[in-house]
Symmetry: C3
């Protein structure tokens, strides 16, 4: 990342270098490779996945303001240009050049890609790595893998073996596994591994309608424990989406709005029935605390559990990272979303989370601006926190350097064995 | 509002003017028009609705300190005078002059009045508007309207039609509707509209003892959906009290302490039974997340849902305002209550809430000091946040001006059609 | 406490003196009197109660960094020395001298000791007071008292009388009672006092296996109400552990890891069964909101309820302290744990909690460093908050002095009748 003006404070050179060194982004998704209309661009910036209400614009958000401030100069514009000027310049340069500039300037060494790759409009990992001058690695999206297995399996028994084989085959070529169960049934996870008989019975029912998303609690627990087994065998951490979700988890939910390749088909979400109504608060955001029993059950297995995003439950997540040996955390997409406000979020993560348990992830999604701003606000937020600790004499310069290296890339290199 | 010394930071003139421009206060209640004893004044300042424990004073709170600091000069005293001096001056001037000074200096263009107007000791809207040099508009308190209907209706069938007619008749003369269901049964709202048959049956039971507060879940859902229908027909937003409550919601709860005209009849709250005990945590404060299913169900109807107060769940509320097109937020009474600490609360709202979804509300209640301090701390808190963004170069001056205008009055003018 | 360099900001002399005056520590435990290996020292610093994962160290935490920064000079070292140097110096001086220096420099007037005193490796109260140049007083750990009663009682009827007598006998020699029910069954407390018949029946079952921890809900409620009765009779407050727990409450939980005398027997925690899995989130940290019904039920009795620690639920606790006349709060161990981050935690407590309801507690536990750092970060955090209020002109100097005196010792002297 270019250093001029990115960091908001004066820092000793060694700290500055550690902050600006290339990051490992432990959680990102593909970004659009096609040129976007203003409506599409705004929708991709928003957590709603819908256009802004009449008379308003999604640019009037923290992330929208940050796009104009920080991404505009990367595209050769003055800071703070109006949205129309930004989007005209974006169209003029074309998506390929925009992605190359924004991802290249993000200062990422390695992207770890969520395995749900999206449609043809989305940059595949290799091309996104190329655009960003970065290496790439894959993360197995276990719910997606299960859906393929459910479509192909012919019996409850074969479902079990096929699921294990599918996850293992994917894990060989990946550095982690990831669950989005938070979007589907929340994180009140029963920690017990279900019996083989119960799984066969539930899988038999599932195969009767394999097109749907996984909703059965027995199969969900079986999926998680199969993922734990595979993660242990291949030495892979298991990531969990926690905290707020984009689109209320609609991209992962049964029914709901369909999201393909970053496109949101707005308006297909009907009125929720009673059961969906009760489930919706969880789908819009689940804190990690209710999965504590599951985490403790996984602990003896030795598989790291990585809690992604966490906001606004990040203080609880930070505590869990200190209280449980196998828990790791980031504040992921909250950095991008809260923009200038993300310094406070990061400061709260630093309150309790051991420094060897924190990681960087951009949660980048949809447009390259999100990856760029995730990295930028990570660096700015951590810079502010380190500067305050140095100014008060609380930390030494070498403390600040070591922590910046650990969170920025060292911890990720260790647990993902990069 | 007078500009001298109100804002804590240097700001460009345009930003300063935008911050000091008259506000729309989207949520206030009447204030006392009679002269108050020290015990009564302290009780009205407190969230407990009771005198301070022996040996202590409610002036030793954030809001009590702010009264001495900020309201004293409006009454012609030096900042920080002791409580006794403040109250002596208050008595000397008389309530009418005190209200005129404090409300007039608050810099409010329009008060939106909660429809539960209180007793004869409380200033009615027109007089409060006159005292503050402001316009006024009304908000329909739907639970109060239901109670009148329940007292008058003669059958379950007529209850249904009378309720719809009553809300409609009130909505014609109001700019919004408001629910305080949070105080009664929390916000775990089943989103489904109940059947007509179920409503008739429940209403028939209700009419047998119409004096009580509404507790039946079917009737509560019916009330909310009737309010949604009326809100849609007349183009009115629907406000919900969320977050902490004053007096544990006792002014809205069945049994409990009675509060009339700002007076709290202390000591009539008996030991809660088991059911009340389980309900009390909700009555002392419910976050908006559990009502997500209801909000999503209302979304296709196009009625804005305004979440009031929200503290300490305001980060979740801020996210919901970004994730759901029909959600709006304020941090209302938390500004008055937390006084100098409110800058942090406002900064957290600014983390995620779209700027076109945030509003100002003082939550003013009981004494004119609360309205004055709500407006003051809103301006001070936002001034600090804007100054930080300008100093770091994150926002442009025109960004700061636009956001101050939107939150201070523009968003309210748009959604309430003022 | 020595003043040189402890406070991070310039303050008027009177405020500085009030902050540096001796504190009442309303919640501490014994610290180790023996010399510790690095593994043991690190484990005692950690919330996990286990060694750090391979390749990491618990010194890379907020509290670990603070030990090197603030405790090293007390042992005659430069700030920021490496962990190995710190521990070598600690061994060189010996535990007795280390404790004398760290506790003596903490500036504590009185330690209130949790009644669960630990084993022979732990300093007993009198010696800890001597080491710190402080007075000591005791707090009755009601769950420990119950366990003794359960081992000795011969019938359900005698259990009831023996429990009342045991708590009374301990309360005579103590200044408060304390419950750790949060670690066992969470804080969703049914507020109702159970019937005598139900207690006798449950106690009869309990006496059949008296060795176990108390899990029965009827007996738990009976224990709490017996404690309330005793507290009222002897004029003692009732403390509750809330918020995060060390070791997931394993030192208090059935089964779980055993912790004796500060030693954690790591590795004996098996995979939780389904019921334990559901209970674990609560054992790792319960907010005080669900006990609101119980607090309201206790209110007419006049017994102060003191909420300890509270993090990350301290904003809710702060509100409860304002909304309920009998509630008091500290942020206890969160000060030690979050170190430099604790200023933000304290600022959030100051948002809403009345100043006459806040207290200081270090939550000190295991090693003298925790007591020292709790006091240090309390003073630094409050100093920062006061300085900001003075600089903005929000508070007067005498406000700042009075609040520092109240929170630091005055409130504790009042409610504990010291």
């Amino acid at each position: 990342m270019r250093s001029d003006g990115v960091l908001p404070v004066e820092l000793p050179d060694a700290v500055r270098e550690a902050l600006l060194a290339p990051l490992v982004d432990q959680n990102c998704h593909g970004v659009r490779r096609d040129d976007l209309t203003r409506a599409r661009f705004e929708t991709l910036l928003s957590d709603a996945g819908t256009p802004a209400p009449p008379g308003t614009t999604h640019f009037d958000t923290p992330v929208g303001t940050a796009v104009r401030r920080w991404c505009a100069p990367v595209l050769g514009l003055a800071p703070h240009v109006p949205p129309a000027v930004y989007l005209a310049r974006r169209a003029e340069l074309g998506a390929t050049e925009v992605n190359r500039r924004l991802l290249g300037a993000a200062g990422i060494a390695t992207f770890l890609f969520d395995g749900d790759l999206g449609g043809p409009e989305v940059l595949p990992p290799a091309e996104m790595g190329h655009a960003g001058g970065a290496g790439t690695a894959r993360v197995v999206h276990i719910e997606r893998a299960e859906e393929e297995v459910a479509r192909a399996a012919v019996s409850g028994v074969s479902y079990i073996s096929a699921l294990a084989q599918s996850l293992a085959a994917r894990a060989v070529r990946a550095v982690a596994l990831k669950s989005v169960t938070a979007h589907r049934s929340g994180l009140h996870l029963d920690p017990a591994r279900p019996s083989r008989g119960a799984v066969i019975a539930a899988a038999t029912r599932r195969l009767a309608c394999p097109g749907g998303r996984l909703a059965d609690q027995v199969l969900l627990r079986h999926l998680l424990w199969t993922a734990v087994d595979v993660a242990r065998e291949y030495g892979r951490p298991l990531q969990f989406h926690t905290g707020h979700t984009r689109y209320g988890g609609a991209h992962a939910g049964r029914g709901g709005r369909a999201v393909h390749g970053g496109r949101v088909d707005v308006g297909t979400l009907g009125t929720p029935d009673a059961a969906e109504g009760r489930a919706l608060p969880g789908r819009y955001g689940a804190g990690p605390a209710p999965m504590t029993g599951f985490i403790v059950a996984v602990q003896p297995v030795g598989v790291p559990v990585v809690l992604l995003h966490c906001h606004p439950f990040h203080r609880r997540a930070a505590y869990l990272a200190g209280a449980l040996p196998n828990v790791y955390v980031d504040v992921g997409a909250a950095l991008t979303r809260s923009a200038t406000g993300s310094a406070a979020v990061m400061a709260e993560l630093l309150e309790l989370a051991p420094f060897h348990k924190q990681l960087f992830g951009s949660g980048g999604h949809g447009v390259a601006e999100t990856c760029h701003l995730g990295a930028l606000h990570y660096r700015r937020g951590l810079a502010g926190a380190l500067a305050a600790r140095l100014a008060d004499g609380e930390w030494s310069v070498s403390d600040a350097v070591r922590v910046a290296q650990m969170i920025g890339s060292g911890n990720a290199r260790r647990i993902y064995r990069l």
